[in-house]
């Protein structure tokens, strides 16, 4: 079976081809085409197939990580959307939680007021009301009003509608009926019911998610449609699948219905690539650290899999978003982050970035402000002659000038300043990792840091040091891990239902009945996607809290059915997460089910090897702090492709490959393993 993974980023489109028959892998990289992202995808597939000498007609599936929906939200370019909501509650999406996003600002804008997904003139109200706790219908749905609202919206040129009713997460019957009426009255329109996206309480967040889905729906649908047709035109017979924020892939048709599940498509693929690489070296507790030019993404993986965000903590572009997603923490620190001394004398790095143009001063494209990359050049950690495989010659003088100007302002030496830039960038990344590990009860000393991205392997060891993480793993192709991650992912569908029950009055038979029903639905979805029954796995869980709390923690049901042991597990989890457990009764809030459809995934990458002598490219001056002072070390430069396998060697060393540079600081050791990973240890 031949499959291709395509990750489209802002600058580059990365592709990876995998042939499960021969185990062969081919990679390709080309410039992205932001105006029509699919153009680079199709061209890339054509070129990749030509390079590999295979016919596009032999490609059985294409897996895609996309930023189309994300960009539509960030740039606020989407459909003319309408909304139908419960009478009396027209402005839930405008008032929000009545909290200002910034504490200390009179002049701020509130995203949902300044840039609403649905303008107030297109928010229609209809008579209906569902009430808790059972979802009883207090006021029946006035279907004529729905019909009338749909006609008005159609007349107004609306092509996407979100139907958002209070308490639909308990009883979605009104929302579904209204959505059906809207579909009748507005043929071809994109219709979303809030509970069908994610049936979770908190109306502002759920309604906003639904209106966002409507806003990006038509555009994402058209994009995926065009792609499918273009692939067919290329003679690619295989189905198109898209990576979702939850770390699974879905068929293009499924994804087009819920485009808000794609907003972290790319970063999620990156985390999965890290998981895959780690697994090949038997590492299962991972901190994935993906550092690029402008930002760094952090994900946490334990034996139980990739950690998911708690739904209330997730947002995109300042808007809340209630969908299952991998907990990816993004901070504004990358190779291009600019260092400066502000007016009050504080030494700051980022979040402003030099970006790709002009880029860091060392790119020689006119940038004059010192960046993290410039600091690495000054300290001899990036070799100006070998950046991007030598394609971009870096300007050491320009980097030095930029850092020297900052040094003068700071009243520090050149090297201290360069080191300071890196120290501050690393500290903010370490703080971000700390917030996802120590603060959640995970001890970083029991994790491996997987360094990804163009800049991750350069900073990995230092970041690991400040967290006492004992080992850093650098995958074979850290710069295109997302494309690889796409080839390692299974098909994944989630479902949840609200089921309030308190310890002592738990109706296990009812819970099991609901779980069985949910399971049957998910299996049917996957089987419709041509997954064999034997390849389907089910993971069941319960969202629980102490009675009265407002936030839940998830416990797993190993057998897929209710088990009282899960409640005991909740106390342990609460203690681990917050450092405190209570004796209060536990309340079950939601049933959660995830079905995973196994598919052929990439097995291993071919591994080359040589000897240390063969790998040696030469030496350079590397500057490191040792015994409290900055010293120059004669630092060997190695070619990663020719490193010997299973031979541990000492830092300092700099290891080059086309897509990244790995730094082995003094005191650290490096060892390339049989799985194709590079392992750094103390």
């Amino acid at each position: 079976m031949r499959v291709i993974g395509v990750d489209i980023g802002g600058t580059f489109t990365d592709l990876m081809l995998y042939d499960s028959g021969s185990g062969a892998v081919a990679v390709h990289k080309l410039r992205s085409t932001p105006d029509d992202p699919g153009a680079a995808l199709v061209q890339g597939i054509r070129e990749l197939c030509a390079n590999a000498g295979i016919a596009p007609s032999s490609i059985e599936a294409v897996f895609h990580g996309t930023t189309v929906a994300t960009n539509a939200v960030l740039q606020h370019r989407g459909a003319v959307a309408g909304m139908i909501t419960t009478r009396g509650f027209r402005d839930v999406v405008h008032i929000g939680r009545h909290q200002r996003p910034l504490h200390h600002s009179v002049m701020q804008d509130i995203p949902w007021q300044a840039r609403p997904f649905v303008q107030r003139r297109r928010r229609k109200v209809v008579t209906e009301r569902i009430i808790p706790p059972t979802g009883e219908i207090l006021v029946p749905l006035d279907e004529d009003e729905v019909r009338q609202a749909a006609r008005e919206l159609r007349a107004d040129g609306v092509d996407a509608v979100a139907v958002c009713f209070l308490f639909s997460y308990i009883n979605p019957v009104h929302e579904r009926r209204a959505a059906a009426i809207v579909a009748e009255e507005m043929p071809g329109a994109f219709v979303t019911a809030s509970a069908d996206i994610f049936p979770q309480f908190r109306e502002f967040e759920r309604f906003t998610t639904a209106t966002m889905n409507a806003f990006v729906g038509p555009g994402t649908g058209r994009y995926l449609d065009r792609l499918e047709r273009a692939l067919a035109d290329e003679g690619v017979p295989g189905k198109l699948h898209v990576m979702m924020s939850n770390g699974g892939v879905a068929s293009a048709q499924q994804a087009a219905r819920k485009p808000v599940t794609l907003l972290l498509s790319g970063p999620a693929a990156g985390v999965l690539g890290g998981v895959w690489a780690g697994a090949h070296s038997e590492r299962r507790r991972l901190i994935t650290f993906d550092m690029g030019g402008t930002s760094a993404d952090i994900g946490i993986v334990t034996e139980r899999g990739v950690i998911e965000a708690s739904a209330r903590d997730t947002e995109v572009a300042g808007y809340p978003l209630l969908v299952p997603m991998i907990d990816i923490h993004t901070i504004g620190a990358g190779g291009g982050s600019i260092a400066f001394i502000d007016d009050g004398g504080a030494f700051r790095v980022g979040p402003r970035s030099a970006g790709a143009s002009p880029g860091p001063a060392c790119y020689g494209l006119g940038g004059t402000e010192p960046t993290v990359s410039d600091a690495n050049v000054v300290l001899g950690r990036i070799d100006p002659g070998r950046f991007l495989g030598g394609e971009l010659k870096l300007d050491r003088e320009a980097a030095t000038r930029a850092v020297a100007a900052l040094a003068e302002k700071a009243g520090l030496g050149l090297l201290e300043t360069a080191e300071g830039i890196i120290t501050i960038a690393n500290a903010s990344m370490a703080a971000a990792i700390r917030s996802r590990t120590i603060q959640k009860g995970h001890d970083p000393r029991s994790f491996v840091l997987v360094a990804l991205g163009g800049a991750g392997p350069l900073h990995g060891a230092d970041v690991a040091d400040s967290l006492d993480v004992p080992e850093v793993l650098i995958p074979a192709v850290p710069g295109i891990t997302a494309a690889m991650g796409l080839l390692t992912s299974d098909i994944k569908v989630d479902q949840m239902r609200t089921a309030f029950m308190v310890e002592g009055a738990i109706d296990a038979a009812r819970l099991d009945g609901e779980l069985a029903e949910m399971e049957a639905q998910l299996r049917a979805t996957l089987e419709a996607d041509e997954i064999a029954a034997a390849d389907i796995g089910i993971v069941a869980g319960l969202d629980c809290r102490y009675v009265g709390q407002g936030y839940e923690l998830r416990v797993v049901l190993p057998t897929g059915r209710f088990d009282a042991a899960a409640l005991a597990e909740f106390h342990v989890l609460h203690e681990q997460e917050y450092g405190h457990a209570s004796h209060d009764p536990i309340e079950i809030v939601n049933l959660r089910l995830t079905a995973v459809g196994k598919r052929p995934t990439i097995e291993r990458l071919p591994v080359g090897s040589g000897t240390l002598a063969e790998a040696l490219l030469g030496h350079g001056d590397g500057i490191f702090r040792a015994d409290g002072e900055l010293r120059t070390f004669r630092t060997p430069h190695y070619d990663r492709a020719r490193l010997p396998l299973d031979e541990r060697f000492a830092g300092p060393a700099v290891i080059f490959q086309r897509d990244t540079t790995t730094l082995v600081p003094p005191g650290w050791h490096a060892c390339a393993d049989q799985a194709g990973n590079l392992l750094l240890t103390r």
């Binding site: 009545h98 600002s105 209070l166 504080a346 030494f347 009265g548 936030y551 209060d584």
Partner: protein, 559 residues
Amino acid sequence: MTAITTRIDPITASVIGGALESIATEMGHKLTRMSYSSIIRESEDFGCVICDAQARQLCESPQSTPLQSGPIPGYIRGINRRFAGIGEQWNPGDVVIHNHSYYGASHQPDVGFIIPIFWEGELVGFSATTAHHLDLGALTPGSCGIVDACDAYAEGLQLNAIKIEEGGRRNAWIWQILRDNCRAAPLVVGDMEAQVAAARIGAERFLELIERYGVATVQAASEDLMDYSERMLRREISALPDGTYSAEGFLDGFPDHPDPAYRDLRVAVAITVAGSDLTVDLTGTAPQLDLPVNMPLEGTVDIAIYLTLRSILLDTTRHDEVPANSGLFRPIHIIAPEGTIANPRFPAPTIARFCSGNIIADTVMRALAPIVPEYVSAGIGNLKVVAYSGQAGNGQHWVYMDIHEGSYGGRFGKDGLDAVDTLYANTRNNPIEDIESHYPLRVTRYELNENTGGRGRWRGGLGSIRDIELLADGGFSLEGDGVRHPPPGLFGGEPGSPGGVIVFADGAEQPLASKFPYRKARKGDRLSLIGPSGGGYGDPTERDPAAIEADRLDGFAQS
């Protein structure tokens, strides 16, 4: 610019500054997740702070409301004063509970838990959390709308520097007193336990920071960070023209009170800018009352002034975030004559001081407006806070606190923010789907009050209408303001619209004042709150025609 003197290098200071902030963030995150009442977990009416040994704030949690974090140094100073008075001191293993409004607490319901942090036997700091509690045994249920409290004793338990844990030993009797004296005790005590747990985490993390960098380095960085914040604020004050700038504002007070001294209470503000110092003089503000609109000077008045000045002069849309530490207080001086509502004498009641503080904040902003016209808004709409309560079948009390938002006035180049918490507070509302799942209440309407923003080149923000019906017999009490006085316009803009309060009971509709004490209500009664809409900014005839057309389509048109 004069040369900047620092104690340690700016790189280490930056790294420690980031570490301090992440400690406070973790405290806030955990407190929200562990707590029980919606006033903490949904409305985020809490604060988390680390202070140094001199009770100077080093950092605060960015979630939570600024009005809760800001007062924490005052709590610790108040406890120190009380300890000095009774010959007590901080010891390792202590946990102190404190809410005394005349010893630094913001007001009685905002209970602080403070843990001293010792390093090698020496006091090096404090980890503290504050939070608004649902009920602390006042004369009527709930902890808001107690607008008939005649003095501090009527507000409920006064806890003045009480060691709820002493030397590591839990004082079970104090917990028992709390359980016996608070209605809805399981929620209140559960929230308090969460506060203690969050404060412990802060103390632990601060010690880890000291272990990593050494106590001297952490202290030097702390001093540098406070100097830095002070410097940033002084720069902005220096850029203002020297002089004195004045404004006045009015509280509704108690419109139904027979004595006119209880109505239309004046807040007078005179701001003097001299170099990099700024003095706020409240002389001329109304005399204190024996009803609880008085404000603790320390904990309410000072915080309203600091936060408003900070939000104008160091607005985060123009400035990188400045560390929230005590350095920001140094350039600001406050004069508030004793015996006024801005500096009452014990035991004048203060429990319902929130809306008064908003008028201070709004008036400070208006006083500054002529010299920073592009950084301020026209008059803001004030808030209302309601306590709904009743007894369940088992005799247990339920209490629900609902915060009804105000709005901002028009701003330079921008319309006002619609339906938000304002200036010195930043709470969140409680989701309707949460309210109806937990209490015998039904929200029957929550919408913008159409076409009410003050006219102006940039219109005032719209207030909202929020109607809540009781599904069982119970009662409610209200503290609010802004029903008699509409938010003023600015620079030719017109005033906004006043708010309103209406009770629907027995088929009749009864308008009420912006404050009323606990009143019984029956199943089916409904309370309708109308938020004031902000004032307009600039001449309404200069408004962009496209904006006028959009207003018409969206129901934002001006009154």
